[in-house]
């Protein structure tokens, strides 16, 4: 475990010493603060809702952006720069390496989410003196999605370049948020083409199964809708299943990879 923590610590240190992370954090703060001024322009007494909506969207947008941009280079960069040789020549297995890298970036994204939420609550405090803890549920679910996205990036980063991995990971991110619609498109196309094979239904079910939209609850919360009891648990377990699957996949692929 100490080796995994050492690798995670190094990944964390690498990330926090990159100027690009601070630039992204800066822009996220700018966007969160901008929500305050955006709300001023609105009419109908919906200031608070606008701040919450725009603020939480900013947290989500920058969280995903950081997860994808840093996630896709997690393994690839180590191989490309040949730093991996010094690590794998030590008593570190490829499994430990992948897990260490994953945990390190997850911790970076956690810190970044916490910082953005603090900025968000400060801006919100200008409209309401009460701290609305319920919004933390939304932040938590976003963080679970960030963890899933990092795990997906890791799968692609294990065998392809950062650019290709970004494209694949972003495509899956879009698919995950539009899975319902994609499933409907598959079914309607099959109907039009008069294909009645069971495979069509299996494909539609599979697409529908990869559902990332369940992690976007801030719109519901902002509009006062209740999150059903047990929803967080269900979303966490569902997310964990995807994370474990992705980690196993990336380890299997990375295990047989020739590090030329």
């Amino acid at each position: 475990m100490s080796k995994i923590l050492a690798l995670a610590g190094n990944t964390y240190r690498e990330a926090i010493r990159q100027k690009v992370l601070y630039s992204l954090l800066f822009f996220s703060f700018v966007m969160i603060v901008a929500s305050y001024f955006l709300a001023q322009l609105s009419v109908g007494g919906v200031f608070e809702k606008i701040v919450k909506d725009v603020g939480l969207f900013s947290v989500f947008f920058f969280g995903i952006f950081i997860s994808i941009t840093m996630g896709v280079s997690l393994v690839f960069k180590e191989v490309d720069r040949r730093t991996i040789y010094t690590i794998l020549s030590k008593p570190v297995s490829r499994f430990e390496f992948v897990l260490g890298k994953y945990l390190g970036l997850t911790f970076v994204v956690l810190i970044e989410t916490v910082l953005m939420m603090i900025a968000f609550y400060i801006v919100l405090a200008f409209y309401t003196p009460h701290i609305q803890w319920v919004l933390l549920k939304s932040a938590y679910l976003m963080f679970v999605e960030f963890c899933i996205i990092i795990a997906i990036c890791l799968v692609f980063s294990s065998y392809s370049s950062s650019l290709m991995s970004s494209l694949f990971a972003f495509s899956l991110f879009v698919l995950g948020h539009l899975s319902d619609s994609f499933a409907k498109v598959i079914l309607s196309m099959a109907k039009k083409m008069e294909i009645s094979s069971n495979m069509v239904y299996v494909a539609a079910d599979l697409v529908e199964f990869f559902n990332l939209d369940m992690y976007i609850v801030h719109t519901k919360i902002v509009h006062g809708m209740l999150i059903p009891p047990g929803y967080l648990w269900k979303a966490t377990l569902y997310g964990l299943a995807w994370i474990v699957l992705c980690l196993i996949l990336s380890m299997l692929m990375f295990r047989r990879k020739d590090l030329k």
């Binding site: 080796k3 923590l5 050492a6 730093t83 040789y85 020549s89 570190v92 020739d258 590090l259 030329k260």
Partner: protein, 311 residues
């Protein structure tokens, strides 16, 4: 004799392009490294030296062959605890300071804080980087990076050290210091495998040599066995009052060059024209010998010859 590393019948192919067939990089490579020796892995660029190292350290997976360290597989975690490795032209974590860099690798071995600090202080001193311990690696020169790389390979006080091109990027003083470190390692009872194409360093450093040409082991053994100490030419520097006349039966076996202040006789077949015969001839010509320089076969000659032969 116990072997620290034993490689048997290693075969490796790579795909250089998706559409092209696989290229054979290693052909039936077998060798061993004896305990407490310095072994050189030499060959021209692209011969397969680094692929051999990557194969034995399990970075790439050979199609055939076996590799054992201390009689065990590399997959045995305890084996890696006894090995140190310096890769060729690695880019280290430039955002770390020299101290943090070594500390990170120390953590991978699970060293205690006290032990780790002791090792780091010693290693920084050994590679001459104590003054730069708190400087980020991005501010290190090429030579300093090579030294910190060597330091990381020794963080676990390994019994077997594999150094891939350790002299690259170093000035003559730096090269001497690295040579001294390698000799020190041997004195401490450790075993070193040095991969290099700087043949003079290998000849000077190593007890054993493995010559790789086109992915095959062309020669393997003790340096003095591999590089036969045959004298293939002797140069005699001499002074003579009048131009000497070369005996007819020496024609084709010697060459002679005359300069205003000196003359040089190149004996191209020293087995046939002995030292005594040359001295007798100098006496006949009233010539006075100034110096004699024998030319022996070197590792470079062997490598060039192997390349010409195409193995």
């Amino acid at each position: 004799m116990s072997y620290v590393l034993e490689v048997k019948n290693l075969h490796k192919t790579f795909k250089t392009d998706f559409w092209k067939p696989k290229v054979k990089i290693l052909h039936d490579v077998s060798f061993y490294v004896e305990e407490n020796s310095i072994c050189g892995l030499v060959g021209p660029n692209g011969a397969g030296k680094t692929t051999i190292i990557k194969s034995i350290l399990d970075f790439v997976h050979p199609e055939q062959g076996t590799v054992s360290f201390f009689g065990s597989s590399i997959h045995d975690a305890k084996v890696k605890e006894k090995i140190g490795y310096l890769p060729e032209q690695a880019y280290y974590y430039e955002y770390l300071t020299g101290y943090e860099f070594l500390s990170f690798y120390g953590n991978l071995f699970g060293l205690s804080k006290k032990e780790k600090n002791k090792r780091i202080t010693h290693l920084l001193q050994q590679v001459g980087l104590s003054h730069a311990a708190d400087r980020k690696l991005r501010n290190y020169s090429k030579g300093m990076l090579q030294r910190i790389g060597i330091a990381q390979s020794l963080i676990n006080d390994p019994q077997f050290v594999i150094l891939d091109e350790p002299m690259t990027g170093l000035d003559p003083i730096g090269r001497k210091e690295i040579r001294d470190i390698i000799f020190d390692l041997k004195k401490q009872g450790k075993t070193v495998l040095v991969c290099s194409h700087i043949l003079s360093d290998i000849e000077y450093l190593c007890d054993h040599v493995i010559l790789i040409v086109h992915g095959k082991v062309k020669a393997f053994g003790q340096i003095k066995e591999v590089v036969q100490p045959n004298v293939h030419r002797i140069d005699y520097y001499f002074n003579a009052l009048k131009p000497p006349v070369v005996p007819k039966h020496w024609e084709g076996k010697i060459e002679m060059k005359t300069f205003p202040n000196k003359n040089i006789l190149y004996v191209l077949e020293p087995e046939e024209i002995t030292f005594e015969q040359v001295i007798a001839w100098f006496d006949e010509c009233d010539a006075k010998i100034d110096a004699m320089v024998p030319h022996k076969d070197s590792l470079e000659d062997l490598m060039v010859q192997s390349l010409k032969e195409g193995v």
